[in-house]
């Protein structure tokens, strides 16, 4: 790998710019394929560039041999994100699990006192109201949203945005009864059955979790299951 290639890779990562590294496995020549540009000493035809961009979209690295030339497309997408609404006790172990699993974490909680920086090192904190915070964050198909406040005043506005976003996962803490009332409210507010059906609730896999850490594990496990199940 040439010095400029590795430097450009690092720059793309720093700028959170998706990029695919295409390598000729025989010669070692490489080029970087961005959504809007191509750069490097390996010349690529349009078909290969398209395949590299599709790989970026699908977040899937793989061989794309062309006319007997062995090529490999390596996807470097920005980190997946987890948006947690509610700087509550469960959020602390969940942040640790999410970061270890490679997620960039954003905590949204307008109740300033809860979202103190000391409790959540390395996490982006937003004290905006959840609906405007989530709109600002531009929820994409590499983002998971989890609401943990138990308070409809805060959870519902977040769900309003999440349900009409591309989020690959939406989960909401609360018992079946709490969720029943949530479904009623969302239905009254005009959300369809399909939209409401996106919510994982009660949140997390059913592993009889009790403590905040155990509940966090069940949530992380469920997010992983949704992410990895095609």
């Amino acid at each position: 790998m040439r010095p400029d290639t590795i430097n450009n890779l690092l720059a793309a990562r720093e700028a959170k710019r998706p990029v695919a590294l295409v390598s000729n496995l025989d010669s070692g020549e490489q080029s970087l394929v961005y959504r809007d540009a191509v750069d490097g000493d390996l010349s690529l035809d349009h078909a290969i560039i398209d395949k590299a961009r599709n790989a970026l979209r699908d977040d899937k690295s793989g061989r794309v041999d062309a006319d007997g030339t062995p090529l490999f497309v390596q996807v470097f997408n920005p980190p997946k994100r987890m948006v947690i609404v509610g700087a509550v006790h469960i959020a602390q172990p969940l942040v640790t699990l999410a970061q270890t699993s490679g997620y960039e974490v954003v905590i949204v909680d307008p109740r300033g006192a809860f979202a103190t920086r000391d409790r959540f090192p390395g996490v982006t904190l937003s004290e905006d109201w959840p609906d405007s915070a989530l709109e600002e964050l531009k929820i994409d198909n590499r983002t998971a949203v989890v609401t943990l406040t138990h308070d409809p005043k805060l959870d519902d506005p977040a769900l309003h945005v999440a349900l009409r976003s591309e989020a690959f996962y939406v989960g909401a803490l609360g018992s079946r009864k709490t969720h029943g009332r949530r479904v009623e409210r969302l239905t009254e507010e005009g959300y369809s059955e399909d939209e409401i059906g996106k919510i994982h609730a009660p949140v997390g896999l059913a592993i009889n979790a009790k403590s905040p850490a155990e509940i966090a594990i069940s949530i992380m496990a469920q997010i992983t299951q949704v992410l990895r199940t095609e």
Binding site: M1, I6, L25, G28, S61, F76, P79
Partner: protein, 115 residues
Amino acid sequence: MSESAIDLQSLDHDDVIEKAAAWRQSGKSVAIATVVSTWGSSPRPTGSQLAVDEDGNMVGSVSGGCIEGAVVHEARGVMEDGKPRLLDFGVTDEMAWEVGLACGGKVEVWVERVD
């Protein structure tokens, strides 16, 4: 190879590239190994990476630990001549390689030098 040789916090490929660049900048020879295809139940998915420096320091992984030793051995050759190598590991290649994947998978690993 001891478990402590693998930095479990840095299994994400982005960290591997960063570490490789940092080692190279400090003047060391560095190679990057990438899983380019897999068959059956291989332990690490396509795209997984391992960086190794001339002293044998490693970051990332290309398997659960079963082929790293052989990859590092090949990486030394790649660091010397600069020619990338495509390596095959798997249960069917026991004659060619002293190592195999305990879980019965096959994996193709590409090793390149960081110039």
